[in-house]
Symmetry: C3
Subunit: 459 residues, 3 copies
């Protein structure tokens, strides 16, 4: 089955518009790493795909970390002495330092100042700031607005609660023929930020919805989690089974107008790294492939040396490098329907590679088989051959039971789909057999750390 | 012994002229993959070198293929209603679709049309077309001539026979000190086409003639065969001994004015690949080295995965990419005496590397030996050293019984001949010994497939 | 301990001036590979650092060589018929062909000519020439002066002695915690040539002086030896212990204004090669890294295949490639205080890497440890991180007990010092442990030759 073919039956303009519409629905919610914002978000995703929601109590130890108290907020503002709300959480939830402790006080500007966060370089934008693990309160606002503040007594109010509660995350599991899994992870903890990461959330949801109707080789696990602490919590609770993850992707910032950036897994040449590189080289030549670094999104946790999972990260603009990053300018205008649709399509293309990337063996390895008598060659000699016949010759030459079809595609320079078509046709003609899937694929790339962990937890 | 030195004793202008003269003798013959054309060609080669001619009956199974019926042709033409031969096989044997079934009929233009092959992009050239494995008849002609055909009744006649007979090929074996072989293969099945492949045929013949008078390390096997089916037939009949091939070259299209192109063997770093790369880099820097691909000439069969022989392909223009390819423009003007001579010289240079590429061991590995007292160094200190002394130092530094002289040449950037001279001089001076030729060289590069085949057939 | 930090407490202008002053003291001495010139030089070095002086008798066999007779010289000149010294050893000791046999004779110009060495391309410079192993006498002079010589009878006098005596070299051993050694070698046999090699001698002396006051991981061995024969003699006398050399550097020509050139050891990726490459890339980006070649200075002997020690060579201008090389123009003006000081600094920077390049193991490999609670992270989320935190994340990601800190520095692109700081901080915080130094580091890069030699001599 070819996922891309299936996907391309839909009009891509419709697909993009629908993705953007869903992002717009999710946009106003004030999410954080815990609390009702992420709960409401997960509920909205659950309306589209089968989502199992987990609640992990505050205080639960997860590796070196502890699940924090749950944060909720009802209202927040700064009023000037005339009683006018000059900063209003209800207008934009970025105005509050995320995880602010509750406060209600009146104070002069001098005292308020250290609690105000602005962006001098982008004086009209509101920054997004957090203080998850250090008790603090604060407001984020436009630098121009802050500069205009006059000496006055200001009433500040943050109606938040920080109490024992739960960390919430959602998990969508789609069983396939194999218990080996493909992990798709996105963080769903940011308030009104569109590219980071409603683009990831909406594309992942659409991808899960799309896959849920298909016959799949791998099982798929979609995670909608709070960043960092969510990935750590999930890993801590799934140590025993995490070894099943054969391929993984973190999706983040895939709605803006930039070309794609794919950051490789820590392994550097995992199958997902090769597959994504191949797909982007052929479909989006302006894409860039980045080596792994230990800073970024939740690939940091999945690729931590004890796990070292083959999880890469697909982005368009790279987090931290575009001005709109973590500001009010990362809004619904910053993400585009066409780019969202193309991101979904790219994911499907990569999954096509993973789903079909098998090892075949040429059953007729001594000299070329006579393709002509099977009607697999051109009939008049002396003329050039095209991509189709070329792909058949490459498959026959390289399929030795060791090389995967992706290896053949990379070596030949032909797109995976052409190689895959050729392999299927040759197999139908009795010239190729599928090599048994041995331990080869799975364990050869795992590190000792990763393997021993998995074994321990099974025993 | 240095082959190149021996060859360079002859005047290269004479060598080139003689190669071209032989090509001119062979040019008019209407060859095909079977029949009297190739027989006559082999007989003419046999006048120059010891050639064993094999005849393989039609119907003989050779791997996935079957030796086809034998094709012969006496005459062919198209006459217009006035009785004038407007297309005449006797004028140019390309006019007939090679392997045309016999035909004698009169038909209107409309009916004749599907049997006419032309080249709209080169309207004055006659294409070369074949139909070996699908019964068909046809004529090839200039597009301009075809366009000028008026509505008329045309008499078409192809006096050919397609009957059980034989496939014919020639083999010249020159024994050397070792039974390990160098295979030189060229196809000899094309009618009046000069570069493809009378250039290969004539250079291979001259090379065999030249080697036949020399004391050789390796045994040499020259094949003059019909393309594809000939190579397949030869491989099928020599499965037991094909493992002796340590190095091989397919020669094709080496007479035109282009720079050299060398296509590597499927192994990609076989000794022949390294040797040819080295020779071309030093002597013909405008040459290009191409990675293996499974489309091309008979390296397709020699390098098929079951055999995976270390056989590369030397070309000037790459088949299929120059306009004259497989047309009447690939004629005797298209190949040049100077280029033919240089191609022969390049082959000799590569064989020089193969013949002399041994492993040596530095017998004095602790500090440099004192070259000065052996008169192998400059006498006044403080001045620069030249290539000769540099080559000696490289040989002493790197010859550890593992690295070959070619490895040393590549690492040092010096030409193989300088490294070889240095090694011989140092050996004469007792500073170097030849390392025993172990299993290293032979089997290390063979694939499992290739090896197991050879073993099976010996047991 | 950080050597560079310690060194940087001194004013680099003072350091450079002092290095140049010492070079100026050594400059006038007429050194050769034996004799009182090198003895006096070693005595002056001994005033600064603890130097053990060895005297090896003439005639001692050292591998393929023999320690030569000792050469000393008191005076030398050419007088014209008027009795005027037109060439005078007392004016410049380069005037005499080094190792000239004694001569006292009067002869016409015609007879004198073959004994005169000049530089036609640099007509005012005096070349430096030697004849160690072939009995000869001669004078070196400016080409312009030679051209001006008129037909005359010339009195030539070389008051030299060439008799059984000794070869002299100096060795400074600084014990560290490990008996594994770092070897720093420079030749001290050239007469009045500044860059080649008083630059090496003075920097090595200053480096030894500097290290002698420090607590060191490795033991350090500084060699001040005559070129070639000195290195061969030292290796011959220390075969049993030379396996202790884990890292080594030859210092030569490090005082001129050129950018650095580092020539790698024969191993090509020894730790010293990686360390020097890293240091130069970060501190001196215009530096160039050269592959090993078997011609050069005493790395030729240390890297001879029987020893194959991990010894590279640090230069500024490459010997033999700058016009002043081996001429009177390689004088005290040609070397600069600032460059000498920078060369010393570069050596200290490399030793910093070697001294601190350990393997660590992340004790918390499952997910990232929570750096924030240890005050090792920024406090407000949403902002960028700097080099310090980035280095911590890289160390945690890559320190698996196998990779060295230098590996981590290279992979991350961060300077070694940042990685080292991060590792120490994380170790102090209980997140990292030092991996036991196994056989890994030492023997994995050694060749069979090198290893077997060492073993034999220990047994």
């Amino acid at each position: 089955m070819r996922l891309l073919n299936e996907l391309d039956r839909k009009d891509s303009t419709d697909v993009g518009r629908e993705l953007h519409r869903f992002a717009a629905e999710l946009y106003p919610i004030c999410r954080s790493i815990t609390g009702d914002g992420i709960r409401r978000t997960l509920a909205m995703i659950q309306e589209r795909i089968p989502l199992q929601i987990s609640e992990v109590p505050s205080g639960t130890p997860v590796f070196d970390w502890t699940v924090p108290q749950e944060w909720n907020i009802r209202d927040a503002y700064i009023k000037d002495s005339s009683g006018k709300r000059i900063v209003d959480f209800r207008q934009c939830n970025l105005h509050v330092l995320n995880y602010s402790t509750p406060v209600r006080a009146t104070m002069p500007l001098r005292e308020l100042r250290p609690h105000l966060f602005t962006l001098p370089d982008y004086p009209d934008w509101i920054p997004y700031r957090t203080s998850y693990y250090e008790a603090n309160w604060g407001f984020c606002m436009a630098n121009n607005q802050m500069l205009a503040l006059r000496d006055d007594d200001y009433e500040v109010c943050i109606e938040s609660t920080l109490e024992n509660g739960h960390l919430t995350y959602g998990e969508c599991y789609l069983p396939g023929h194999s218990t080996d899994e493909v992990l798709i992870s996105c963080h769903a903890c940011h308030p009104s930020l569109a590219n980071d990461n409603l683009s990831g959330v909406t594309v992942a949801t659409a991808l899960a919805e799309f896959l849920s109707k298909r016959d799949l080789r791998y099982s798929y696990r979609f995670l909608f989690i709070p960043g960092t602490i969510g990935a750590i919590t999930w890993l801590a609770r799934n140590q025993e089974t995490v070894g099943r993850v054969r391929h993984g992707l973190v999706l983040t910032g895939i709605g803006d107008a930039s070309a794609f950036h794919y950051k490789k897994s820590r392994r550097g040449n995992a199958e997902i790294d090769q597959a994504m590189t191949h797909v982007l080289q052929h479909a989006n030549p302006s894409s860039q492939i980045l080596e792994f670094s230990p800073y970024g999104y939740d690939e940091r946790q999945y690729c931590s040396p004890g796990f070292n999972l083959p999880v890469g990260c697909l982005m368009r603009s790279i987090w931290g490098t575009f001005p709109e990053y973590h500001t009010s300018a990362d809004n619904l205008d910053f993400i585009k329907p066409a780019q969202l649709a193309e991101s979904l399509r790219t994911c499907a293309a990569v999954l096509d590679v993973l789903e079909n990337n098998r090892r075949y063996r040429n059953l007729n390895p001594y000299c070329e088989p006579q393709l002509g008598k099977r009607d697999l060659y051109r009939s008049t000699g002396g003329k050039a051959i095209g991509v189709e016949i070329s792909a058949r010759l490459w498959v026959l030459s390289l399929c030795d039971g060791e090389r995967s079809l992706l290896d053949v595609a990379q070596r030949s320079g032909l797109p995976f789909s052409a190689i895959n078509d050729a392999a299927e046709l040759l197999r139908e003609n009795g010239l190729l057999s599928v090599a048994p899937e041995g331990a080869t694929g799975r364990t050869c790339e795992a590190t000792n750390n990763g393997r021993s962990l998995v074994r321990q937890s099974h025993s």
